[in-house]
Structure formats: C-alpha cells, structure tokens
Symmetry: C2
Subunit: 204 residues, 2 copies
C-alpha cells in the first residue's frame, strides 16, 4: 500500500500508528507530500480531490481516504485482535471516542491555521477562541467521562486520543493540557512508550 504521508500530520500518524500496532508497517510505502490548505498538493489531488493526507493507494490501484477509512481498512487486514470492535456497544463507544479525537484535532488544526498561516491582521479572535474552547472542552471530557474507557483496552478510540494529545504537545505546548487533566496525563504517559506511538512522534 502506498500512503501519501506527512511527518507532522496527526491524521497520518493515526494510520501509521495503527499499522505498527497491528504489525503491518512494512506493507506501507510512504509517498512524500506537501499538503497545506491554501496550496494543495496536485499529486495527491489526482487521487483525492480534497488534496488531504493521508490518502492511500492499494496495490490494485484502489484509492482510500480519509484517515478513518484507511485505519478501518488496515485493521481488517491482519489476523490479530481488532482495534475497531466488530459490533455492539463496544463498537459505538470506540467510534464515538475516535470521532472525539478527530473533532479535537479538527479544532486544533483550525486554530493552528489561524495562528501560524493566516496573515496576523486577518485573524478573528472569536473564531480562534471558539476552536481553543473546543480543545479545552474535549480534554475536560476525556478526563471526566472517557478515562475509564481509555484505561481499558487500547482500541481505535484510545489510539486516536493519543495522537490528538500528541499533536497538542507538538503545536500547543504552552497550553499545557495536562494541568486540568492529571489522570489523562498519567494514561498518556503509560501509552506513550508503545512502539506505535514512540515511532510516530510528530516532526516538522
């Protein structure tokens, strides 16, 4: 499988972490990319019109995106225990937690674009505050409502949350999410040494 890749993208990280966690990293040929919202990578866009990473190309030419789809696809290709529970309450809980991790990241990326890409005079404080508020509320919910789920089996929800918190450390270290979430911080510490997370720390 070929994968349009960026070492700074938390969505790519989810795919790579799942590949390592399930023993499939060697299957993945990484293709470099330069995807940013104001200047899409035209090589990716041939396969995925939104121009986003991750985008995967299977050996038969089938194109898969986005990160949620590629993660679930990869998880269906190995003989071990699945990170996506197959059915029932376990599935809906894990998928909702994974969606929460994605929603936290969507807010964090929008905040990052506002702060690091948009010309300073065009920043809109209310928008930025709205996105940062979603990050804080998500961290608070993880601490208050999801921590027991997280402390259980390392499923796709936990993998997504670990990648999301890693992105906060990477791009928003000054916000110090750990201060308001000590139990979440202890959980993150305990999973950070898994090869799937250790070998995919963001760079950029």
């Amino acid at each position: 499988m070929k994968l349009f890749h960026s070492p700074a993208s938390p969505y790519v990280r989810m795919v790579m972490a799942l590949a390592i966690e399930t023993g499939q990293a060697a299957k993945i040929e990484r293709l470099p990319s330069a995807a940013v919202p104001v200047k899409p990578d035209q090589t990716i866009r041939v396969h995925n019109p939104t121009g986003k990473v991750p985008t995967a190309i299977l050996d038969d030419g089938t194109v898969l995106f986005d990160s949620r789809v590629i993660c679930e696809y990869l998880d269906a290709q190995h003989p071990g225990e699945r990170l996506f529970p197959a059915e029932g309450a376990a599935r809906w809980q894990a998928l909702t937690l994974f969606a929460l991790a994605q929603g936290l990241l969507d807010a964090a990326l929008l905040a990052r674009y506002e702060l690091a890409m948009r010309p300073a005079e065009k920043r809109w404080d209310e928008w930025l505050a709205g996105q940062l508020g979603k990050i804080d509320a998500s961290v608070a919910a993880l601490e208050a409502e999801w921590i027991e789920h997280l402390e259980g089996r390392f499923d796709i929800g936990a993998l997504g949350v670990a990648c999301a918190l890693g992105y906060l450390d990477f791009r928003f270290p000054e916000r110090d999410w750990r201060k308001a979430a000590p139990r979440l911080a202890a959980w993150f510490e305990s999973v950070a040494e898994r090869p799937a997370l250790k070998e995919t720390r963001p760079q950029g």
Copy 2:
C-alpha cells in the same frame, strides 16, 4: 433516540435521510440546537465537547457522535438492506465516497464561515480560494470517477454525496456546480425525489 438537530446542517441531514431511507424516522426525537463555531451550544456540549450537530443520545443514555458514527449505528438497527456494505471492496469504496462527501462539505462549511460569519476585513482570499477549489475538484472527481458508483445502488456514499450537493444548492447556488458536471446533475435529479432527500431539504 434523541438527536440534536439543525434544519440547515448537511451533517444532520445525512442522519435524517438515512433514518427515512431505512424506515426509522419515527424513532428520532429532534432536539433544537444553535450550534455555530464561535458560540457553541452549551446544551450540546454537555454531551459532545465539540458542541457539534448531529449528536445523538440513545434511550440508555449512551451518547453517539459524529454524523458518520450515528449513520452507521442507525444502519445497524434495521432489518433491511444496509447502506453501509458489511465488508470487502464494496465497503471501502462506499466509505471512501462518503468521506469524499464529508470532505467536500468540510470545505463548503469553511468557505461559508469565511464569507458569511467572519468580519469582511478579516477574510483571507487565499484560504477562501483553497476551500472553493476543493469543492470544484470534488465535483469534478464525482463526475469523472465516481459517477458509475453513484448510478449503482443508493449506498451511504451516494446518500452523502446527495446531501453535499444539496448543500451547494442551498448555500452556493451562484457557483452552479451542474455546469461542469452534467452526468452528476442528472443523477442528482434522479435521486432528489426519494423521500429521504425530499423531506430533508435544508432550511435556514
């Protein structure tokens, strides 16, 4: 099932359309909401920290979000043919098409926020052009690469695309997506009369 609802949200529309398509509309109790990015609805936020619609609350109190998760959950609760193919190539194709519809909508919503909510002097033309470019590229890919899939069975990918195109008609009529996509336009015409789509036309 209770559902935080907005008659203008294309993501809510996907859930309602799936509920109608699968004979489950009567199960859904709609809760009003006022979710906008700069002023989150605090009632939703108690259940979903990103404050977004749709958010669902099951009878046992379990909370589900986002639209992808609620759609797949609902699709697992009826005896008819599933809109989410269970496995194999059909599943990955349908999920990728659904992700494309979501990606088109994500770009359309960001363009809408830039044009209709952000103060005019804080607009960034390159950002807006980037989002509008994703819309155009997505429509072109639907016409060129996905039309045969769309003309086949009405699966979750087709449902998502129909809601996405309906949003373009609702918020960006002047862009006239049909001009560059005649076969897609004919397909859209042919599905628009399904009760699932007719009864969920956006309002706001």
